[in-house]
């Protein structure tokens, strides 16, 4: 189980070497918050691959978006992408993963875990906790009695989970690649290796490489690096702030979200956009 609290991430602390962090799939996290009428920056729970069992200590309202993990409240299927009223003592559990990889649980008013550097996003060495553990209790605000239940629902485009195309810009060092390397980048179906996590996704198929390392410079979430051995590494939300490998491509923000819903063995293709 790998479950964390995430929000929009830490901005303005890169000069101290602090990563951005934040929800891997920002799109799904935002959908979950929006359906509850939460502010966009409220913290949500990011649930990876398999879900925890959660007991509520207060009445509130929840919404789950992102990967389909068959959420159940007590013994009832509650579905995705719609607000659900919960009562004190209710138990939320998750079943089998059927679509995507990361599910987002939003709560009315958001999770109120401690803020460090203006964000609740969990990251080792920044927040007190790196991941959520069994028996943790999470604070939230109590919901006022006159809260009006919303009946909003949204149909999330299925392509968010099924599309294998990642839209990319040319990276800072793209022009240093040979014409052949450039062609291979855009015509190969790459598979995601087992080295995939919140910091980076490595691709299994190498790209023959003769580029020298660069003098350490900035990287961003979505930067695709090419290592001396030819491994392509797509940096994700928890990536370090700087790196020394050539930056060959840069994913669009929306493609970082799409990639976050994929895991080991899934195929991707890069599609150049201007």
């Amino acid at each position: 189980m790998y479950t964390t609290i995430q929000d929009l991430g830490r901005h303005g602390y890169q000069e101290f070497g602090v990563p951005y962090s934040g929800a891997m799939d920002m799109y799904s996290a935002k959908v979950a918050n929006a359906l509850l009428g939460n502010e966009v920056h409220e913290a949500v729970m990011e649930i990876t691959m398999s879900g925890p069992t959660l007991e509520f200590h207060c009445d509130t309202c929840i919404c789950i978006s992102g990967a389909q993990m068959s959420p159940m409240l007590n013994t009832l299927d509650i579905g995705m992408n719609r607000p659900v009223r919960v009562k004190r003592g209710d138990v939320l559990s998750f079943g089998k993963l059927s679509t995507g990889f990361r599910s987002y649980l939003a709560l009315l008013g958001g999770f109120k875990t401690d803020m460090f550097m203006e964000s609740r996003s969990m990251y080792q060495g920044i927040t007190a906790q790196r991941v959520l553990l069994k028996h943790d209790e999470l604070p939230t605000e109590s919901v006022s009695k006159d809260f009006i239940e919303r009946h909003a629902t949204i149909k999330v485009k299925n392509t968010h989970f099924t599309s294998s195309y990642l839209e990319v810009f040319k990276g800072v060092e793209f022009d240093k690649l040979s014409a052949r390397q450039q062609k291979v980048l855009f015509t190969t179906a790459f598979s995601i290796s087992k080295e995939n996590n919140r910091m980076a996704y490595q691709l299994a198929e190498p790209l023959k490489n003769s580029l020298e390392p660069i003098i350490t410079s900035f990287v961003l979430p979505g930067t695709v690096q090419l290592t001396p051995s030819g491994t392509l590494i797509i940096l994700m939300r928890d990536c370090q702030t700087t790196g020394g490998y050539p930056r060959v491509l840069q994913l669009k923000e929306s493609s970082i979200n799409i990639l976050s819903q994929k895991f080991t063995g899934h195929m991707i293709r890069f599609k150049l956009v201007e």
């Binding site: 000069e15 070497g17 602090v18 460090f116 060495g125 810009f169 961003l220 702030t241």
Partner: protein, 243 residues
């Protein structure tokens, strides 16, 4: 002097400004002056400004700026920036214990370099290093100035855990691990002070452009300083060398 700069789009809302690809203090100073000049002007819609060895990253709010208009504004600023901008520089004296208890790779370096441990410690601690920027990990300083006799290649297989405060050499660089982490550099000592404080308004004491020197301390001094650091009363020695 001015440099021929390259301006490149990076991601959806950043501009990467590149200086010639050389690690050089005059380039660092030029970057820092340009950065300070932008900060001073308080230009709306610029969200973040970070410098590294030979580049400056400008993160902007795309509701406020188009790429081309921001580029024009930045280029204009660079032409105007120069001697009216003052960069203040501090030198920090960092206590380091090179005792065998910490210096787990010192014997190996001593053998491979045919240098006594004392000479290695002397070479490492008599140099004044330049902080080029902080990156990689929270609080990790990229330092320039390592004596070339101390260049040691990184380990082929990184250690799974390197202790907080470990002072190490990786290739042509030296640095301090601000927190426990995996790492492939060769460890020659440990500093008892904090290099990153998440609760502080200034999480790192040093800034890009500052100077660092390492002051050898005994194991006993190490324990004393560590206790003061933990009690939150340790005062790190520093002086302004350029105001």
């Amino acid at each position: 002097m001015t440099y021929e700069l390259k301006y490149k789009p990076f991601g959806e809302c950043s501009v990467l400004i590149e200086w010639p690809a050389v690690i050089d203090e005059s380039i660092l100073l030029d970057i820092l002056k340009f950065k300070e000049n932008i900060v001073k002007k308080n230009i709306k819609g610029i969200v973040e400004l970070n410098s590294s060895y030979c580049s400056l990253l400008v993160v902007y709010d795309f509701n406020h700026w188009g790429f081309e208009t921001l580029l024009a504004a930045l280029k204009k600023r660079y032409k105007q920036h120069r001697d009216n901008v003052k960069i203040s520089i501090r030198q920090w004296k960092i206590p380091v214990c090179y005792d065998n208890a910490f210096a787990i790779d010192l014997d190996m370096i001593s053998r491979e370099k045919s240098l006594s441990k004392e000479s290695i410690i002397q070479l490492h601690s008599e140099t004044i290093y330049t902080v080029y920027f902080i990156g990689f990990l929270p609080g990790f300083m990229y330092l320039g100035g390592l004596h070339k006799d101390l260049y040691v290649p990184r380990k082929e297989t990184p250690r799974l855990t390197v202790k907080k405060g470990a002072v190490a050499i990786g290739g042509e660089q030296t640095g301090v691990y601000p927190n426990e982490s995996p790492g492939g550099w060769n460890i020659i000592g440990n500093s008892p002070i904090d290099f990153f404080n998440v609760e502080s308004k200034t999480p790192c004491f040093a800034r890009a452009g500052d100077k660092i020197s390492f002051k050898p301390i005994s194991y006993k001094e190490y324990t004393n300083i560590k206790a003061l650091v933990e009690a939150g009363v340790y005062q790190l020695e520093s002086e302004v060398i350029r105001g």
